[in-house]
Structures are given as C-alpha cells and as structure tokens.
C-alpha cells in the first residue's frame, strides 16, 4: 500500500467517525428531520473498499450510507446540508440521509430499500462493459439485505454476463433486531458464491488493511473482465439500528468483545506498524478533518431552506 493511500484511509475513517458522532448529537437535539442510521463501527468496510476506487467507478449504498458517501469522496458540507434538509445539500433537500447521492463522483445513491441499489449497480457495470470504460461498480449492502430476491437475481445476472461488480456485504450480524443466523441457515454469506461459480471471500471487516487487500483483488478481478465477487466483511454496528430505536436486543458480552476491535484503533496500529502512518500525521489528519466538519455544520446551518415551490422541480428532465 502506498503512503498516500494509507493516509487517505485513516482520514476517511476518522471523518466517518466524527461525522457520525456529530450527526448523533445534532439529531438528538432535533436539528435533523427524518430518520438516521449511523455507520459507526463499520468504517473499515466502506473505506477499505473505496480506497481502491477512482471517482469514475460506481457505488450504490444503503440506508446506512453516510460512511459510503464519505469513503467515495463525498463532501462533508453538502452531505451535512442534505441532512439538515437544506437547498445546498447534495439532493437539494429532497432526499435526506437515506438517499444521499453524488453522481459526479459515482455515488448512485443511498437507498431506503434493502438491496434496492444492488441491481442498479449491476446495470452500471453493464453500462461500463458495453462502453468499454473499465469502471467497476460496488454494491454495498448489509447481511439482512442479502435475503432479498434482488440479491440473488443481481449476483446471477452479473455472474452470467461477467460484469465488473463487487457485492460488498457488510455482515454486522443483525438486520434491525434480527440476528442473521436466525433467519438464514448458513452464517457465511460468501458461501452463496458457489451457486454462481464466482469467488466468495470472507474478510475481517474491522481491519481496514485486510478489507483493502481483499477488495483490491475483487476489483482487479472484475476490471479484468472475470466477473463479480461476493466480498463478505464481518463487522458490527456500534449504535442502535436507527437513532431513537426503542428496543435493545443485543448481548452485552458480545458487544464488549466487538468494541474492543475498534476499526479506527486497528487501522492506526496496523498502518503505523507498516510504517505508513505516524502520530504526527494522525494529529494533522484529525485536526484537518475536525475543521472540515465544523465548517460543514456551519455551512449547513447557514444554508437556506428550499422554497416550497421547489417541491415541483426536478421531476422530469
């Protein structure tokens, strides 16, 4: 791994963490309307994968999409403005947290429908293949989402047509309050790859270096015309399913074990031991991110609301 990539990786992981912590506070204070699903704990997944992507490559994201957006190069200010429902947000206040999109950097949208974005990613890959553009499309999704029929249809289609797709499954082991192994008989989602005769890989989703390396292989494999990979990242969400969720259902002991594997700590330790990061860099990165975040909140707060009549624009081209 190059040094610059390592720094980008830590920067984005840190940005996700503090962005989400800020959103948590703002939401609790009632400054953000709607629903919010935080990405804290899963930073290594989005960042490890997206560190292999260029702006031309595509991603589709999920209801828990802030992390993917930051990892793919989304601006904190326009993201924050969108969460504030402001006109300056990426979606001009029409989308909100669950629909963040930035097509100019290949972000084909977060999605309020589990696995809803997966076929869209397959289509982007088809488009890349037809036009010989060499772009890859990464479909992010959670463990729960892989039980949607569209997951199966998408993997089958991509495999049959050898499309440049990576099915990036963040297996945090719960979909809302339901433990994956109670609604699926095989805890390893990557094992499904056998049915499509494609690679299925399991990686520690708390370890950004491991994710980066496995994602690299999958992306290169896809770009070389070999077709898709199912990349399963075992991970854990540190917060509730959505902010304000009433029920608690996870086991404290398990929770504590996972929290020990904090992806930011692992990233720091590993990247330092690889000689790619040092304490001074970390301080620099954290300060610059913090500054951008403060500016983003400021920008969002000071941005204008949309006008009511703006509701009638943007429907048709």
């Amino acid at each position: 791994m190059e040094k610059s990539i390592a720094q980008q990786i830590y920067k984005k992981m840190y940005a996700i963490r503090v962005f989400e912590e800020k959103v948590e506070v703002l939401f609790a204070k009632g400054e953000l309307p709607g629903f919010v699903h935080l990405y804290i704990g899963q930073e290594a997944c989005a960042v490890g994968v997206c560190a292999n992507l260029s702006p031309e490559d595509y991603i589709t994201s999920t209801h828990r999409g802030h992390g993917h957006c930051i990892a793919k190069g989304g601006r904190l200010d326009r993201m924050m403005a969108e969460l504030f429902a402001k006109k300056t947000g990426y979606n001009h206040g029409k989308g909100g947290s669950m629909h963040l999109a930035a097509s100019e950097i290949g972000i084909l949208g977060a999605n309020g429908v589990t696995a809803g974005g997966v076929p869209v990613a397959v289509g982007a890959a088809l488009s890349s293949k037809i036009q010989n553009q060499g772009r890859v499309a990464v479909a992010f999704m959670g463990d729960g989402s892989t039980n949607q029929g569209t997951f199966h249809e998408s993997v089958n289609l991509a495999a049959a047509f050898k499309l440049p797709v990576v099915f990036a499954v963040e297996n945090n082991q719960f979909g809302v309050g339901t433990r994956f192994c109670t609604i699926s008989n095989e805890p390893d989602i990557a094992k499904r790859a056998a049915g499509y005769n494609i690679p299925g890989v399991i990686v520690d989703g708390m370890d950004v270096v491991a994710v980066y390396q496995e994602a690299k292989k999958a992306i290169e494999y896809a770009k070389a015309g070999n077709g898709p990979t199912i990349l399963e990242m075992k991970t854990w969400r540190y917060r509730m399913h959505f902010q304000g969720e009433p029920a608690t259902y996870r086991n404290d002991i398990e929770e504590t074990e996972w929290i020990k594997k904090d992806p930011l700590e692992i990233a720091k330790t590993k990247l330092k031991s690889m000689g790619l990061l040092d304490n001074a860099m970390i301080v620099d990165i954290e300060e610059s991110v913090q500054k951008k975040l403060d500016e983003a909140v400021e920008f969002a707060r000071n941005s204008p609301d949309p006008m009511p009549e703006d509701a009638l624009t943007d429907l048709f081209a």
Binding site: P33, G34, F35, A85, K86, N91, G93, K94, G95, G96, M98, H99, N111, G112, V113, T114, A115, G116, G144, S145, N147, Q148, G149, G175, V176, G177, T178, T182, I183, S184, P246, A247, T248, Y249, D305, P306, M307, P308, E309, D310, A311, L312, L315
Partner: protein, 327 residues
C-alpha cells in the same frame, strides 16, 4: 373507558384474536418482544402467547408474504406485516397475481383467511421511499379488500373483522396515528368491513376522507363551522369495496362533494368517489366535485417541501369555502 393508542389497539386486536383462535399466526420483521414490530404494533404479544405462533422473518417480502398465503390456504389464519407499506412493491406478485386471483382462478376451491398489515403515509420527513399511500393500487384489483382505520377504536374493531374474515384483507395503518390515544373498549369487538362511518353530521357539503385525512377533515370542519359552513365528514374506512350507498346518501343531502386524499390524484380512490357520484348521483350535484390530493411529485424529505406537497387543513378550509362561494 381506558385510553390506548392506535398502535396499542392494533396489538390488542391481534392478541385477542390469537387467544380466540389458535390458527391465527403473525409473520413479519421483528414481531416478537422486545421489539414487537417497528411501531409497537405487536408489542407484548409474544410475551403473552409464547413464541410458537409469531415468526420473525428474513427481509424477503415477496417470499414471506407468499409463505403467509401458502399457510392461509392450508389451515392457518396469518397476519403478515410489512415494515413500511412502500415495501409492498416487492411483494406485488404474491399479493396481486397469486393471492387476489387464487380463489377465483381455482374456481372457489380454497379460502384465503389472510390479513396483510402495513404502516402507510407521510408527514414524517421520511422521504420518497418511506411515505407512500398506495391503497389505490389495491382498490383497483378485484379479490382484495382494503381497510384504512382512522383512529384507535376503528383500528381495533376493523382489525378483528379482518382477522375473522375468510378473505384476503389489506389493512393499512397510518404512521401519524400510531401515538394517538382515545377510549377503546377492552373486550373484543368488530366493525364491519365495507361500511363507511359518518364521523361528523352536516348539511352544506360532504367531505369524504379516510385514514389520517379524516382528522384533517374534522379539524377543517370545526373551523368551517365557525364560518357557518356545516360539513358532513364521511370516513370511508374501507376503500374497496366502496360504500357507495353512504356516499350517495350524503351527497343527496348536501349536494356538494369534496374528497380529501393524502395520495396522488391520477387513478385513485378519490377519483373513484368522484366518478361514482358523477355517474350515479349526478342529479344531486349543485357544484363541481372537488378533489384535494398530494401534488404530483414524490414525497420530498425537507419538511418545508413535504408540507407543500401534502394536503393541509387550510387547503380543505379554503376549498370548501370556494365550493360554497364563500370566498
């Protein structure tokens, strides 16, 4: 009488029906305690009934709605839930091509004692994929009964009827109503499916509404009353089959019709109510039939935009004034 909320009333109806009939089962996402469904609509049930008849499903709407159908035609009486009505888009084949057609297509061989419940509606900054009002789609399809309770007491009685019914009933709960409390009898009772309720008696104009719009229509009526306009508010309760008689009777009295619908205009229940009266009650009419519906865009996230798109009480007031030439 004790006051309970709309979501508590829904949970109570399901619990009581499960106690009454062991064939009743629940299927959906996070149905069991401690969750008890996303808005608490099954809260407390598994703790009382046990876990044998409540099934927490994978996120496979087409698959598990189809499984509920399979269970319904082989002896069970499933109540199957979608976490949001919007996700019904995933289960449409099993609902429309399979369940709605099945009894008829098989020449009456089977019964389908199946209820599908789902939270519906907007006004929550939940944006385009979590705000739909899709009752009109299902009203369009023969073989389906479509119920939308507008308050907690109706919610309980209509759900009991739906569960006891030997046909497939779609039961859509409005998210803005879940927390609303009111007097609800403790003992089980039923409210007939297919019958509208006059929620307010009046003489100058008939306002037809259902689901969350009923409360907006009543609010508007209270304002209008002070201006000397007397509104009759009809809560359809069931949008398919339509209670034609109740609608026509009211318009025969008031000679004016305003329909208030949260969903979109084109090909909707609101246009059906209009078409019904324009065909069978034409001679009663002293004024054009007016419809208030959502504006024709997806539901936007920003509250300022969302409020602009959706029907509001003041729209009803102003439109009623216009119809009665009081503006």
């Amino acid at each position: 009488m004790r006051k309970i909320s709309y979501s508590e009333a829904i949970a109570e109806a399901q619990l009581q029906e499960m106690q009454r009939d062991e064939k009743v089962i629940l299927m959906g996402l996070v149905q069991k305690d401690p969750y008890g469904s996303a808005f608490g609509q099954t809260k407390g049930i598994s703790s009382v009934i046990g876990e044998d008849r409540i099934f927490d499903m994978p996120i496979s709407e087409q698959g598990y709605v189809g499984a509920a159908l399979g269970a319904a035609i082989t002896g069970m009486r499933p109540v199957v839930e979608l976490q949001f009505q919007d996700f019904i888009t995933i289960a449409m084949d099993q609902i429309v091509q399979q369940a709605a057609n099945m009894r008829y297509m098989f020449g009456g061989q089977i019964k389908i004692p199946l209820v599908l419940r789902a939270p519906t509606g907007a006004y929550l900054a939940a944006a385009a994929q979590h705000s739909h009002m899709l009752e009109s789609w299902f009203a369009h399809i023969p073989g389906l009964k479509v119920v939308l309770p507008s308050d907690a007491a109706d919610a309980k009685g209509l759900l009991a009827s739906a569960i006891r019914e030997d046909n497939f009933v779609l039961y859509f709960e409005h998210k803005k109503l879940y927390d609303k409390k009111m007097d609800v009898p403790k003992e089980p009772y039923t409210i007939p499916i297919g019958k509208a309720a006059i929620k307010r008696v009046g003489k100058d104009i008939t306002i037809v509404a259902w689901s969350f719009m009923v409360s907006k229509a009543i609010e508007a009526s209270q304002i209008l009353e002070k201006q000397g306009i007397s509104c009759e508010v009809i809560d359809l309760r069931t949008v398919s089959p339509l209670d034609e008689e109740a609608i026509l009777k009211s318009v025969a009295k008031t000679n004016r019709l305003l329909v208030v619908q949260e969903g979109y205009w084109n090909s909707s229940v609101a246009t059906s109510v209009s078409a019904l009266v324009a065909e069978k009650g034409f001679d009663y009419l002293d004024a054009p039939i007016t419809l208030i519906t959502a504006k024709e865009v997806p539901i936007p996230f920003a509250p300022v935009l969302e409020n602009y798109v959706l029907p509001q009480t003041n729209n009803i007031v102003e439109t009623a004034q216009k119809i009665l030439n009081k503006i």
